[in-house]
Symmetry: C2
Subunit: 331 residues, 2 copies
């Protein structure tokens, strides 16, 4: 009911009452700009997100692998970690990640705050420890002042650091895609092929998993439902969290928002292009081989899901003090 | 004459005619905002500067080591290159680098355009080739459109890529430091200690090398003039370019603009803090041991050289096409 009420209000506001019934029944809903953001906290989090001093090497920041210039991803199959270690799994986009049911491919973090601490202390990623990261941040006067302003006291701890990063990440929602305009009643926002692609996307069953505001991100599903997914990647999916054999190869369904920008695809990053990803998904999840024309139309539709990318001034980070522990990239 | 005329105009405009004579004679001059920038070319260059697809791995961009969130440096002694190779020398700041007499510590590149091609093709840095980088950029429709708009034709070549990056780098001038305000006549812009530090800086002879608009960057000088500089770093300095033994250990004098942000110091990045750098420079270049109080005053002065940092929206990069060659970080 709540969703319908919002949709009705939107439709009325936009003067597209005639489309209300149809849009309220669409399996994908318009993505909404975030509300209730604590601006000071998000600003602090933005700096921390871009700060490589949260890594042992001083070279890797959150933005290294979730690059906001590149759709919130690194556009490589699996990420580069400390000392060039090869990451185990494709870095998911940070864009619209606040809408995910949980974080990481296997959902092992309940929310963005819980996620943010992971890579910092992961020996294969930023290679640091929470204590050392806190020590660095607490030694930087510019950060201490911001912690004081935001939290009311100058104490720096990992809880504050991850809370700030999460608050910044909540701002990374991408509204105003052409598809959202279409959903809101502007039927000229999609070409005939794109609209036809959406019909195929719905009728073939893609929307069974890729639905809601983020066009995914809201459930775990078995990869290789109809036909086994072939990969050398050893990731077990949700089973690694629940310990249940039934959860083997259950992964969080990725959002398709901005999917044009978040290549390569799948948890192993094995699909370089959208045509390839659509073909594979059709076959192994739906038992359906899309024709070339169908595939092209679905891809055309998927490209209409690219929304407004984050728009903010490059953050300027507060300098280290003489007493700030120095990074050790080569030790 | 030209400089004096500008200074006079400035002084008149600011109503500080009384200070004109003194300031015109200062060895450091006010840094001026860049003029004649081609905005479209610089905008293209900004994207390329942030684009890790100019590297073999898809992980390293110009901004990785000349990080504009960190004073145009990476704040580590020597940089991290492709496959985590350790760089041979400290990455100099890109800020105000258009004012340098030449680029690199040994001046082996005549200008910013010549410099920009270096790291792309350096096996220890971005690890790519110019041909491969051109192939990637030429395969990205968003870039091809920008090349067409800027150069009048859609042809992508290394000349256009490096020209654009250089044009962007020319915008990275940092005016309005407190010292510039002081130079322009606002004597309240410096504290008594900072002004005293500047006097020590002048009277001790630091200004013999650190002078002009960039407070350095305009000459090559012997490191270890009075006392040998002890380092394990094998860099030979200017001799590597000229082949002359007399140029051994001649390095480009680094700019001191924003020096508060560009730690660690020296070509080997061996000095972590400004007090340490000032102490070493006094001893080995000037044969002078600064007292603790003198050192603190010089450091206080140096921190007044931090100017306005680059201020622009984080660039959003055009996505790769299906045919774009993919990065190979682990091959």
């Amino acid at each position: 009911m709540k969703k319908k009420t919002i949709a009705l209000t939107l439709s009325l506001a936009l003067g597209f009452l005639g489309n209300f019934q149809a849009n309220a029944e669409e399996p994908i809903s318009v993505i909404k700009a975030p509300v209730g953001i604590n601006a000071g906290l998000a600003e602090l989090g933005k700096k921390l997100y871009f700060d490589p001093r949260l890594s042992k090497s001083g070279f890797i920041s959150c933005n290294s692998c979730h690059n906001l210039s590149l759709g919130g991803t690194d556009n490589i199959p699996t990420s580069v970690g400390d000392k060039w270690q090869q990451g185990p799994i494709n870095a998911p986009t940070v864009l619209n990640s606040s809408l995910n049911v949980a974080q990481f491919w296997d959902g092992r973090a309940a929310d963005l705050k819980a996620q943010a601490g992971g890579p910092i202390a992961n020996p294969g990623e930023m290679g640091f420890t929470h204590d050392l990261a806190v020590g660095v941040v607490a030694s930087i006067p510019g950060y201490v002042n911001e912690f004081k302003a935001v939290f009311g006291k100058p104490d720096v701890n990992i809880d504050g650091i991850t809370q700030a990063i999460a608050e910044f990440e909540k701002t990374l929602v991408t509204p105003n895609s052409r598809f959202d305009k279409w959903l809101s009643g502007d039927k000229a926002a999609l070409t005939a092929d794109e609209a036809a692609g959406y019909q195929i996307f719905k009728e073939s069953g893609c929307v069974a998993c890729h639905n809601g505001e983020a066009v995914g991100g809201n459930s775990f599903q078995k990869l290789g439902l109809v036909e086994a997914y072939k990969t050398n990647n050893p990731a077990e999916g949700r089973a690694a969290v629940t310990g249940k054999d039934a959860d083997r190869f259950n992964f969080k369904v990725p959002t398709l928002r901005n999917v044009e920008l978040t290549y390569p695809y799948f948890h192993d990053g094995a699909a370089n292009t959208l045509p390839e990803a659509v073909d594979t998904m059709g076959r192994i999840q739906l038992g359906k081989t899309f024709t070339k024309v169908e595939n092209a139309k679905v891809v055309a539709f998927l490209k209409t899901l690219t929304g407004d990318q984050p728009s903010f001034l490059l953050p300027i980070l507060p300098p280290s003090a003489d007493a700030t522990p120095r990074p050790t990239p080569f030790k």
